[in-house]
Structures are given as structure tokens and as C-alpha cells.
């Protein structure tokens, strides 16, 4: 597939008033979001904030009406196959097939993305190399540690050269060392390929460290948006304006989130509008 000119003008992901309802529950309630090409965007929020549902709408797993979600300009309602060819997706569960070897797991995704046979083995090896799994590739995935399974899933997603990598809670349940390992591999691959990364997490420290921009989600909507440092400085300023000590340490992203989730402010409230207005000018890594 060529990266045609039409694609270049579009953001990687655009959600416009995205709403998704399970029975009575509004899991996503009017989500507006744009993720620029090449950035690492973190969708943050507590369990039940609607992150996973939003991701499932973007990945075409959940049907949404036309016009709500675009991936590189392709509508997920009408142009599913085109959207899927641009995506690499790592779901929340450890989803490698334990009955297959690492190499076979990756080869399956090479096949279903139509990698021609003459190129398949080489591509699979490159994907395994990119996540440092060449040595373990011949072993069954059932013998892998959690961190290795995550890296294997990353290789499965990378084998089709996606332009948008979507990771749903990639480090959930991993020990700190494995978490760092997963992130370093994501970063290395991103640096080498320039792909866009959309990641959900509820670890604020990870988001602060690894995301170019974050959106804090609560109750099915984005409540604050910007670079981690913008959000933290914004909160620091508000606290000083409210009479806090001038020499207080910079609030953490977790403080920002506590304020957003705890205060029940909606997006009409003053302080956040500034943050939201920065989203268009936010730093983009290209």
C-alpha cells in the first residue's frame, strides 16, 4: 500500500463526538480526540473511564456510525479494511497463542496481512529482532514470561508495518523491569519507523515519561489534554493562583488526574479550557 498524498493530510486518529453505549451504560460519551501523525499519545484514566471502549471503536471492533472515527482519513464505519491495514493492535490480555512458538505467532500475522511468501520469513525475523526475541523464537509462547509475551505481541503487530500502533494497557500486570523493557522497545521501534502510537494506561508515571501528549479520560470523555508538562504546570499555576505556596514542587500527572477525576469538573470549567486549547499546538514528534 502506498502512503498516498491524501493520507498525509490527515491526523492519525480523529474522533468526533464519539459515543458508544452498552445497554444503559454510556461507556464513551462524546469523545473528541485527534492524534497527530508520529506522536505517542497516551489515553489515561481509571478503570471504567471508557478507554478500552474508545480503542475498540477506533480498531473497528465495535461498530460506530459514519463520521465519528477516522484513521488517517479513512472512516471506520465505511472503510474498515483500509483502516485495519494501517493498524497494529495489542489488546489488554496477553494474547499470544500459547500453543504456538514465538515465530509461528508472528508468522500468522504476516499471513493474515498478506505478506508474500518470499518475504515472510525475513519479515518475521526482523519483527522478532526488533523486540529482542530471536533467541526464544523457537520456543512455545507458553514458556514465555509476561514481559516476553508483550514483546511477542509487539512483534505480531509490527510485522505488517502499521502506521498506527494501538496498545491497550501494554504494561498492565508486569513487574517494573518488564514494564521498562516493553516501553523501551516501543520507543526504539517508534524512533526507527516513525509510526504513531496510541496507548492507554492508568500508570501516570509511565505516561509522564513516555507520552508526547496525553488525554485524561473520565466518565467517557476527555477532561484534560496536553503534554504532560503542560498539564502539570497548568495545575501548579492554578494552585498558586488559589493561594498555594509559591515554592511548591511541580504537581505530578497523578495530581492533575486526581483533580480532574475528583472534582467532577466538566469541560466547561475555566481552567481546563486553556489546556484544551493547547491541543492543536501541542508538540508533535515527526
Amino acid at each position: 500500500m502506498t502512503r498516498d498524498a491524501a493520507d498525509e493530510q490527515h491526523d492519525a486518529v480523529t474522533c468526533t463526538g464519539l459515543t458508544y453505549t452498552f445497554g444503559e451504560t454510556k461507556a464513551v460519551a462524546g469523545l473528541d480526540l485527534s492524534v497527530g501523525e508520529g506522536e505517542v499519545f497516551g489515553l489515561l484514566g481509571p478503570n471504567g473511564a471508557g478507554k478500552t471502549t474508545a480503542i475498540r471503536c477506533i480498531t473497528t471492533l465495535l461498530p460506530v456510525p459514519a463520521g465519528m472515527v477516522h484513521v488517517f482519513g479513512h472512516d471506520t464505519a465505511g472503510d474498515r479494511m483500509a483502516v485495519r491495514r494501517l493498524l497494529g493492535y495489542v489488546p489488554q490480555q496477553l494474547s499470544a497463542d500459547a500453543g504456538l512458538t514465538g515465530r509461528e505467532n508472528v508468522a500468522l500475522f504476516a499471513r493474515v496481512f498478506d505478506v508474500p511468501r518470499r518475504e515472510r520469513a525475513a519479515r518475521v525475523e526482523q519483527a522478532l529482532t526488533a523486540v529482542d526475541l530471536t533467541e526464544a523464537a523457537g520456543r512455545l509462547a507458553s514458556t514465555y514470561s509476561g514481559g516476553m509475551v508483550r514483546r511477542l505481541e509487539l512483534a505480531q503487530a509490527l510485522v505488517s508495518a502499521p502506521r498506527l500502533l494501538i496498545l491497550d494497557e501494554p504494561t498492565i500486570g508486569l513487574d517494573p523491569i518488564a514494564r521498562t523493557g516493553v516501553w523501551e522497545h516501543i520507543n526504539a521501534v517508534r524512533a526507527a519507523t516513525g509510526m504513531t502510537v496510541l496507548v492507554t494506561t492508568h500508570y501516570m508515571d509511565e505516561a509522564d515519561q513516555y507520552c508526547d501528549r496525553v488525554g485524561l479520560m473520565h466518565g467517557g470523555r476527555i477532561r484534560a489534554l496536553g503534554t504532560p508538562i503542560q498539564l502539570r504546570e497548568g495545575l501548579g499555576e492554578r494552585r498558586r493562583a488559589e493561594g498555594g505556596p509559591a515554592d511548591a514542587p511541580l504537581p505530578t500527572l497523578e495530581d492533575v488526574f486526581r483533580e480532574v477525576a475528583g472534582s467532577g469538573l466538566d469541560d466547561q470549567s475555566g481552567g481546563f479550557r486553556d489546556v484544551r486549547s493547547t491541543r492543536r499546538t501541542a508538540n508533535r514528534v515527526g
Partner: protein, 286 residues
């Protein structure tokens, strides 16, 4: 967990040699529309064969039941001559029925695998590849067919050892393979359809148990249709297993069979099964 937690050897962006992952920079060309379906079928069958090559336990344990049917039921009823089988020993008559039965037993529980894949996130990941739902189900159906076929080979060998006089005509054996695959494609789709309705492994187990015996006893696998009471003859007439057994008998033993009708019914049943299971796959993805 045979490798120490993965990460201490950190990978940095500059260590990931861009030449080493050059293939991961360009997405594969989409396959032409008509080649997509066979490619997905091959991909799913390859996975099934790879899994079987790593763990043959199921192949051996599943051989026990058909062996007992042939050895105990077959030999006993051959001796007491309770079931009229024109011109051939009862065990010969029984062998194709047991081949069909053991193939059906594998296929009828195939839906459990798809629910397991759903729970493990594997199904979602496959649904985010450029694979239409019908192609995924067709692939799974034929993968179940391949698994059943290997089982059928085992039963044929057992039958041959027990002295059943089977054909070794390669063309007829090819036909046997086609019949087993088509039959299992239908029963696996029946199973995946129920999976799409009940959505849980336990309930599917219950359904599987509840329908296998009626399908088996309500067919011509154990006795000719002519000795059945009228109502059971009706059941047998609408039961695809009867057509599978009829074709297998015709091909393996050379008894009079309605091969064209059998193949026709099995092909239509498989196609309807694929349509039904594909339309319910969305419920599993939700």
C-alpha cells in the same frame, strides 16, 4: 518463565539498526480480492497443523473412543448379527460411521476454541486484521476440517488393523478427505454459531453434549435407515451426518451411495453454517 525477566539488557533507539528492520517500514501489498479467502484458509489451517505438531496428546486421546467403538461394539455386533448389513460384515459397515462420528466430535467442540480465543484476546486481534468475518470463519471451519481429517486417518488405520476391507484407491481416498472436511466444516460452524449465541464455554459444553448423541444416534452411522422407526428416519434425513456417512461408505466400501446428493448436501450445509457463524461472530467480538 524460563528466561529471567526480560528487560535488564536495555535496547535503545540507536541500537535498533534501521537496516535490520527495513522490511518493517513498508506495509505488504493487499492481496487481490479473490485470493484473500484461500489465503486466510491456508493461514488458519497452518496454525492448526502447527499446534498439532507441538502437542499430539489430543490426537492420541481422541483415538481411544473410536478404537473402542470398533473393537467392542463392532466386533460384538458382528458376532451377534443383530443389525442387518447387506453383504458386508457389521464391523465394515460400522467403520465409516465411526470415522464420521469421531470427526464430528472434534468439530462440534470447536466453538469452545473460539470462545477461548475470544477470552484470550486472540480473536479480537484477528478481527483487527484485513480479514472479513466470513473469511475468518471459513478459515476456522477448514482448520477444524483439517484437524478432523487427521483424526479420520487415525481411525482408518485402526479399522484397517481390525481387518475392515477398505479401498486404497487414491481417488476415492481423496473423496473421503473432501467429505470429512466438508462435514467437519459444517459441524464446527454449528458449534461456532452456538458459541455466538451462548457466549460462554460452559454453556457451549452443555449444548455440545446435548446435541452430539442425538446427531450420532439419529443418523445411519450405527444402523441402516431402513431399520429405524418412521420418526427417526425423518431425523436422519435432515441430519448432515447421515449424508457424510453415506458418502464415506460408498467411497470406502463401495456400497451403493448417493455421492452427488451427499456432496451437495454437505457443501450447502457448510455454506449455510459459515453464513450463520459469521453473522454471529460480532457478538463474540463485543
Amino acid at each position: 518463565m524460563s528466561e529471567a525477566p526480560a528487560a535488564p539488557r536495555t535496547v535503545s533507539a540507536d541500537r535498533l539498526d534501521p537496516d535490520g528492520i527495513n522490511l518493517l517500514l513498508s506495509p505488504p501489498e493487499p492481496r487481490a480480492g479473490w485470493r484473500l479467502l484461500p489465503a486466510r484458509v491456508v493461514a488458519m489451517c497452518a496454525v492448526e497443523l502447527q499446534k498439532l505438531s507441538h502437542d499430539r496428546t489430543e490426537l492420541y486421546t481422541r483415538a481411544v473412543q473410536p478404537a473402542l467403538w470398533l473393537l467392542i461394539f463392532g466386533q460384538t455386533f458382528t458376532r451377534i448379527k443383530a443389525i442387518p448389513t447387506p453383504g458386508i460384515p457389521y464391523i465394515d459397515y460400522l467403520a465409516p460411521g465411526i470415522i464420521a462420528q469421531s470427526a464430528m466430535f472434534i468439530a462440534i467442540f470447536y466453538g469452545i476454541q473460539i470462545i477461548w480465543e475470544r477470552d484470550a484476546g486472540i480473536l479480537n486481534k484477528l478481527l483487527v486484521t484485513p480479514t472479513p468475518r466470513s473469511a475468518l470463519i471459513t478459515g476456522k471451519a477448514f482448520a477444524a476440517g483439517v484437524k478432523s481429517l487427521i483424526q479420520a486417518v487415525v481411525v482408518i488405520v485402526i479399522a484397517a488393523i481390525l481387518g475392515v476391507s477398505l479401498t486404497w484407491n487414491p481417488l476415492k481416498l481423496l473423496g473421503v478427505g473432501a467429505v470429512v472436511i466438508l462435514g467437519s466444516a459444517f459441524f464446527s460452524c454449528l458449534s461456532m454459531t452456538i458459541a455466538g449465541i451462548v457466549l460462554s464455554r460452559d454453556r457451549l459444553m452443555g449444548f455440545g453434549q446435548a446435541i452430539t448423541m442425538p446427531l450420532f444416534f439419529g443418523s445411519n452411522a450405527l444402523y441402516p435407515v431402513s431399520v429405524m422407526p418412521g420418526w427417526l428416519q425423518v431425523v436422519s434425513k435432515v441430519n448432515p451426518l447421515s449424508y457424510e456417512v453415506d458418502a464415506l461408505r460408498g467411497l470406502l466400501l463401495g456400497t451403493p451411495a448417493h455421492l452427488a446428493l451427499d456432496f451437495g448436501v454437505l457443501a450447502v450445509a457448510a455454506a449455510l453454517g459459515i453464513a450463520a457463524a459469521s453473522s454471529l461472530l460480532g457478538r463474540l467480538a463485543r
